[in-house]
Amino acid sequence: MAIVLFLGHTEADGGLAKGALEALEAARGLGGELVVGLVGASVDAAAIGGCGAARFLAVTGAAFAVPRYASDAAAAEAIARAAGAEVIVAAQTSRWARALPGVAHRLGGAADSHVTSLSADGAAGRWYYRQRIEAVQRRSAKPWVVLLEGGCAPAYSGAPAAVSVESIEAPVSGLERTVVEGYRSAQTGEQTINPEAKVLFVAGAGWTKKQKDGQVRTGEAEELILGFVRKAKASLGSSKSLVDLSGEGHAVLPFLTHLHQVGQTGSTPRHAKGLATCCHGEEPHVVGWRFIQERRAVNLDGNCGWARGKADVLYVADAFEVMRKVNELLGAAAAGA
């Protein structure tokens, strides 16, 4: 029976994030002999102790507390060699996406990222050309490292159980040429793409165009957009055109940075609901919406090519008016709560 290694990195509390639990569940579904490998300052494997793994391996210590290519790759390589796995499943996190392709090379295997489905017969689904072409593929190279996108498998939810964790040694000498200083939020301090948010709000270029009164009302647009994002605790995304305008130094909507961008060179978020406003355009915009489950749009063009057939509901209306009312309703609901 093939050995399947689930690889997880722990969070500050020693536990695993939701994406990791989804990857664990996907690994369990492959049907081989499951081995759990954990990396972090410390690990608490009891929370997933009932997952049925034959072994629990861990690389721990201060050097492995922070995400860093050299130490993460060394830890993952050591665990993978100790496990002797043919398939390695991990969550598509920035940490593993940075390190695991290099680890696959060290192990003589192959890596596939942004995998959206994984079946027991060895078929993996992923998208090519920025979510425009869907493929189902296989790998003969072993070990096969699979980075699973968030939201593509149910999260493991078994009962905790005490387990014995085998400590694996990974080299630390010479691996600390890079020091992680910390984290910084986007300069605007505003939320960008928050995977935990229920709603994604996408601001299109229409917000910066002349409105019915012939005036450009970017100040009002900023107030409405940020007001909604704060009240609804929504993720904030923007189309590429808006981001480019910001990047070119125009005083358009300066709080929108490249981190807000969805679509071709931006993110392709996964939220339960998405509300697009003043977005026009075809495929590049649609790309950013591929994985939004319920989609609604507000814009002035009833024939908008991207919204028709892609959104569930298209409100042909002035987004300024609609969002002002939406914000009033959300504010009233919050005040009454």
Binding site: A97, R126, T265, A333
Partner: protein
């Protein structure tokens, strides 16, 4: 310290083109050779950021290593050459997104290793953190591994050279944040996201200057076969989802707002 900056950048179909898979055993795009191509958007950011750094640090030099069909590379370079100063290292081969990233990495690493006069102790190896073709973000790490570079960063938006020569790097991580790291210095690998620079304006004079080295580089581009890496495809298809869009017109903003708020609360 001056830098030797090598940017890996492939070519991809212009993002505004409609793409369809072509029928056949090996996956490819319909009319792939006819589609207008551009330098991969993320690689382009890597190139612009690298050229900007080289301009700021005297004695630095930028190479652009690109794997693609020679004719398409020539077409793309006519535009790219006007935007940044670099020396091209061209490799004639497939630019398809359906090729294996590790096999592509092997070709790129070999091309980089063969650059005459490249000082690896001063090497900043750059590229896009993903491509608009394979969209995997798995190539650069393997190029780095093959060249022995263990200081690797992905989703880079900012690079700052500190007074002591160390490099401070901002990488995109979850939650709209940047992870800030300080690295001792080269050799280092930077997989750029979008960075902070806008697309440079076309500079025909720079283009003419670049083309003097680009044309010979294209002429002597060696052909490279890209292995499959044990990758095979069961299916390659366009998504078929088409939604029945309900159009709501001539309705007061109040009513629309109420409907949106109720929908959000569901």
């Amino acid at each position: 310290m001056s830098y030797h900056i090598v940017v890996c950048g492939g070519i991809v179909p212009d993002p505004l083109q409609t793409l369809e898979p072509a029928p056949g055993a090996a996956p490819s795009l319909k009319n792939e050779m006819m589609l207008p191509a551009v330098l991969d958007p993320w690689a382009a950011h890597a190139l612009y950021e690298s050229a900007h750094l080289a301009k700021k640090v005297p004695g630095s030099k930028v190479w652009l290593v690109s794997l693609g069909p020679k004719a398409k590379l020539q077409q793309v370079m006519m535009t790219v050459a006007q935007r940044a100063a670099f020396e091209l290292v061209a490799v004639d081969g497939p630019s398809s997104g359906f090729t294996d990233s590790a096999a592509v990495a092997a070709v790129l690493a070999e091309a980089i290793a063969g650059i005459a006069g490249l000082d690896r102790s001063r090497l900043i190896l750059a590229g896009g953190w993903e491509s608009a073709a394979r969209a995997a973000g798995t190539t650069m790490q393997v190029v780095g591994e093959r060249l022995g570079i263990t200081e690797q960063f992905q989703g880079v938006d900012e690079l700052e050279v500190l007074r002591d020569g160390k490099l401070r790097i901002a990488e995109r991580v979850e939650g709209g944040r940047h992870q800030i790291s300080v690295c001792d210095g080269p050799p280092v690998l930077l997989g750029w996201a979008t960075g902070n620079l806008g697309e440079p304006a076309n500079n025909p004079q720079l283009g003419m200057q670049n083309m003097r080295t680009i044309m010979p580089a294209l002429q002597k581009a060696r052909s490279a076969a890209v292995g499959s890496g044990g990758l095979s495809f069961d299916s390659v298809s366009l998504p078929k989802q088409q939604r029945q869009t309900r159009i709501v017109k001539d309705v007061a903003a109040d009513a629309i707002a109420r409907e949106i708020v109720e929908w959000m609360a569901e």
